[in-house]
C-alpha cells in the first residue's frame, strides 16, 4: 500500500498532528480491538452541552472519542498502571495504542516496556504476541524546559524486543503509525515537537510505511547526512546550502531507530565515504553513536574520514531560549561538521 503515496492525485498538505489522527481513525475503524488509552486523550470524555473536548495536550486526538466512543479511554495520571494495563490487554487480544504525553515521563513507567512487553515473546518461548503501540512526544525547541523536552528514544531503542520509530514528516507519520499499530511487536512511536505542526503532502486512505527501512530523502555523492525525526529537516536545509558550494550531500532518514537499517547506512557510506549523523538526543549511548560505531565496524573500508555526530549537548535541556538554541543540533552545526570533513 505504501506506493499509494506516489499515485497521481491532488496534493493535500496537512500537519503531522492531523496525519497522526488520521492514522488512529483508520486503525480504529478497521479493527475494533484497536483502543487508544491515555491521559486526556478524550479530553475527559463526553461533556455537558455546549462544551467540547481537547483531545490531549497537543490536541492530536481531538474528535476521536465522538466517533469511537468505546475505543477511546481517558485514564487517571497513572503511567505505570496505564502501560502495564495496556501490556496485559495486548497479550489477551487487544491492540492498544497508549499515549504517553511526553517521552520525558518514561521514568514513571519504564518497567512495562523494559521487563514485560519487550521480553514476553522471547521469555515465553515464542508464544506471545504483543501488539502494543506507545505514542509519545519528543524533542526540544518549545522552551518546555528540562522535563518536557527530552529525546529519550535511545532508551527504548536500546531494549531488545522493542521497536522504535520516528517520522520526519506528516506522510511518514501516518504510514509509520499504521504500521506500528498493526505490528505484532511492541512499537514506540515518537512524535517530535519539531514536526508535529509542520505540514506536508499526506496521501488519503490506508497505507503503511514499513518499520525497519530507512529512506533516502535526497540523493548525493560527497557526504552522507543521516538524520531522524526533526533533524531530517535540518539535514535537508544543510544539503541545500551545501549545494550552493558545490557539495553534493545525500540525506538518509532513518525512520526506524530499532531495528536500525544497517544496510541503508552502509550503502550511503559506500557512495560518499563521509558521514555525519544528526540526532536531537544527547550524545551518550544514543543512535548517533550506534551509527558511527557501525561505520567503523562493518563500514571501515568505506570510510574516507571521521564520522561526526551532531547532537544535543550533554546537559539537561535549558529553559531560556539562548541556551536551548545552543543545546540543540542545527543546520549551522551540520554545516560546520561537514565543512570540517571536506
Amino acid at each position: 500500500m505504501a506506493d499509494q503515496a506516489s499515485q497521481t492525485r491532488e496534493p493535500r498538505e496537512i500537519p503531522t498532528a492531523f496525519a497522526i489522527a488520521e492514522a488512529l481513525r483508520i486503525a480504529m475503524a478497521s479493527d475494533p480491538t484497536v483502543i487508544l488509552m491515555g491521559e486526556d486523550v478524550a479530553g475527559g470524555g463526553r461533556r455537558p452541552e455546549g462544551t467540547d473536548e481537547m483531545g490531549g495536550i497537543m490536541s492530536v486526538t481531538r474528535g476521536l472519542v465522538g466517533d469511537f466512543p468505546s475505543q477511546v479511554l481517558d485514564t487517571p495520571i497513572s503511567e505505570m498502571g496505564i502501560l502495564g494495563t495496556a501490556v496485559g490487554a495486548a497479550v489477551t487480544g487487544m491492540r492498544p495504542v497508549v499515549e504517553l504525553m511526553f517521552m520525558d515521563f518514561i521514568g514513571t513507567c519504564l518497567d512495562p516496556l523494559l521487563n514485560q512487553a519487550s521480553k514476553f515473546r522471547y521469555m515465553f518461548g515464542g508464544k506471545a504476541r504483543i501488539p502494543l503501540t506507545v505514542r509519545t512526544v519528543t524533542g526540544a525547541g518549545m522552551q518546555a524546559a528540562a522535563q518536557h523536552s527530552q529525546s529519550l528514544y535511545w532508551m527504548t531503542a536500546g531494549i531488545p524486543g522493542l521497536k522504535t520509530v520516528i517520522p520526519s514528516n506528516a506522510a511518514d507519520a501516518k504510514g509509520l503509525l499504521l504500521a506500528a499499530i498493526r505490528c505484532d511487536d511492541p512499537v514506540v512511536f515518537c512524535e517530535p515537537k519539531g514536526i508535529l505542526f509542520l505540514s506536508t503532502d499526506v496521501p488519503e486512505g490506508d497505507y503503511e510505511v514499513p518499520i525497519g527501512k530507512a529512506n533516502i530523502v535526497r540523493a548525493g555523492s560527497d557526504v552522507s547526512l543521516v538524520g531522524m525525526g526533526a533533524t531530517v529537516g535540518m539535514a535537508l536545509a544543510a544539503a541545500a546550502e551545501l549545494e550552493r558550494d558545490g557539495i553534493s550531500a545525500e540525506v538518509l532518514d532513518l525512520r526506524s531507530l530499532a531495528p536500525l537499517d544497517e544496510e541503508a547506512i552502509l550503502t550511503t557510506l559506500a557512495k560518499t565515504g563521509r558521514l555525519v549523523v544528526v540526532d536531537e538526543a544527547t550524545p551518550r549511548c544514543g543512535i548517533a553513536s550506534d551509527v558511527a560505531a557501525l561505520c567503523v565496524d562493518k563500514g571501515f573500508d568505506l570510510l574516507n574520514g571521521p564520522v561526526r555526530r551532531v547532537t544535543a549537548a550533554m546537559c539537561p535541556v535549558p529553559f531560556t531560549r539562548v541556551l536551548e538554541e545552543a543545546y540543540m543540533p542545527s543546520t549551522a552545526r551540520i554545516l560546520e561538521a561537514v565543512r570540517g570533513l571536506l
Binding site: G88, V91, M94, K127, K163
Partner: protein
C-alpha cells in the same frame, strides 16, 4: 459457596501437586541439579487452588516470582514446567524463561514475574480486555503483601475500580517480604484496608483454609462476572520455606515458623475437614498422593532426558515480525 466433591478432589490434587513439585525442586537444588533463583510457595497452596477452582482457560492470572503454585493451579502442565526448570527445549518456555517466567497463554497464565508488583497491571489489562471483548472472563492478579507497597498496585486498583473491571486482586499476605517482616514496612494491619482508597470491595480470608478462600474468591469472581467491579481479597498465610530455595533462614525464629508449619498446614487442615465431614475419603486422598508422586517423578525423568535448546536458537523469537 460449597464446593462439590469433584471440585474438592481437583483442589486436593492441585495442592498436592504444588507441594510435591516444590519438595522435589528443593531436593534437586540441594543435589546441585537445578540452577537459577527458585521461590517455593509451600504453605500457600490453598490460595492458588481455591482461586483457580473458579477459573476457566479464558480467565487470566498474572503471577509473581513465587509462581509455581499459580501455574499448576491454572492448569499449566507440570512436565513442561519441570523441563523448563531444567532449561530444556521441551520446557513450557523452551528453557528460556525459567522459574520466574513460566507462562502459558493458552491456559490463561500470563506468567510468573520477576518484578514485584508487575503482574497487577497485567491482570488489570486482561480484565479490561475481557470487558471490551465481552468474553465473560476475569483478570486475576496474585501478589504478596510486599507488592502492595508498589506504585503499580495503587495505580492499577484505582483504574480497575474506576472502570468497574472484572478483576480480582488476591494478596497473599504471608507475613514476609524476603527477610523483612511485613509489620516492619506496612503500617496497617490488613492489606484489605487499602481497597477503600478506590471504593473497592474488599474481603479477608484465611489463606490456610481452602474452604474460606474458595467461598470468598467465588463470591468476588461471580460479582466481577456480573459486571459489578473488582475485589481486593487478602488471604492470610505463611511462607513455610525460606524466601528462595537455599535461604539460610537465619532471620526467622524457628518456633514462630513451626507454629504455622505444624498447626496451620493447608493440606493437613483440608484433609482433616474433608475426612471428618465425610466429603472425601482418606483412601481417595492417598491414591491422589501416589498418582501425584508418580507424575512428578516422571516429569523429572522426562525433563532430564530432554535435549537442551541449540545455541543457534539464541536470536529466535525476539520479534514476531522481521
Amino acid at each position: 459457596m460449597q464446593p462439590t466433591p469433584e471440585i474438592l478432589q481437583v483442589a486436593y490434587r492441585t495442592m498436592r501437586t504444588i507441594r510435591s513439585f516444590e519438595e522435589k525442586l528443593i531436593e534437586l537444588v540441594n543435589q546441585g541439579k537445578l540452577g537459577g533463583f527458585l521461590h517455593a510457595c509451600i504453605g500457600q497452596e490453598a490460595i492458588a487452588a481455591a482461586v483457580c477452582a473458579h477459573l476457566k482457560d479464558n480467565d487470566h492470572v498474572a503471577s509473581t516470582h513465587r509462581g509455581h503454585g499459580h501455574c499448576i493451579a491454572k492448569g499449566v502442565d507440570v512436565r513442561g514446567m519441570m523441563a523448563e526448570l531444567f532449561g530444556r527445549s521441551t520446557g513450557t518456555c523452551r528453557g528460556r524463561g525459567g522459574s520466574m517466567h513460566i507462562a502459558d497463554l493458552e491456559k490463561g497464565m500470563l506468567g510468573a514475574n520477576g518484578i514485584v508488583g508487575a503482574g497487577i497491571p497485567l491482570a488489570t489489562g486482561a480484565a479490561l480486555s475481557a470487558k471490551l471483548r465481552k468474553t465473560g472472563g476475569v483478570g486475576v492478579a496474585m501478589f504478596g503483601d510486599g507488592a502492595s507497597n508498589q506504585g503499580a498496585f495503587h495505580e492499577s486498583l484505582n483504574m480497575a475500580a474506576n472502570w468497574k473491571l472484572p478483576a480480582l486482586y488476591v494478596c497473599e499476605n504471608n507475613g514476609w517480604g524476603e527477610f523483612t517482616p511485613t509489620e516492619f514496612v506496612v503500617p496497617v494491619k490488613d492489606i484489605a484496608e487499602r481497597a477503600r482508597s478506590y471504593a473497592m470491595n474488599a474481603m479477608i480470608a484465611d489463606g490456610m483454609d481452602f474452604f474460606d478462600v474458595y467461598a470468598k474468591a467465588g463470591e468476588a469472581i461471580a460479582r466481577a462476572r456480573r459486571g459489578e467491579g473488582p475485589t481486593l481479597l487478602e488471604c492470610k498465610t505463611y511462607r513455610f520455606m525460606g524466601h528462595y530455595v537455599g535461604d539460610p533462614l537465619v532471620y526467622r525464629a524457628k518456633a514462630d515458623a513451626d507454629e504455622w508449619i505444624n498447626n496451620r498446614d493447608p493440606l493437613k487442615l483440608f484433609e482433616t475437614r474433608v475426612t471428618s465431614e465425610g466429603l472425601l475419603a482418606a483412601d481417595n486422598l492417598r491414591s491422589i498422593d501416589e498418582e501425584v508422586t508418580e507424575r512428578i517423578t516422571e516429569a523429572v525423568k522426562s525433563a532430564q532426558a530432554a535435549p537442551f535448546p541449540d545455541a543457534g536458537e539464541l536470536m529466535q523469537d525476539v520479534y514476531a515480525v522481521g
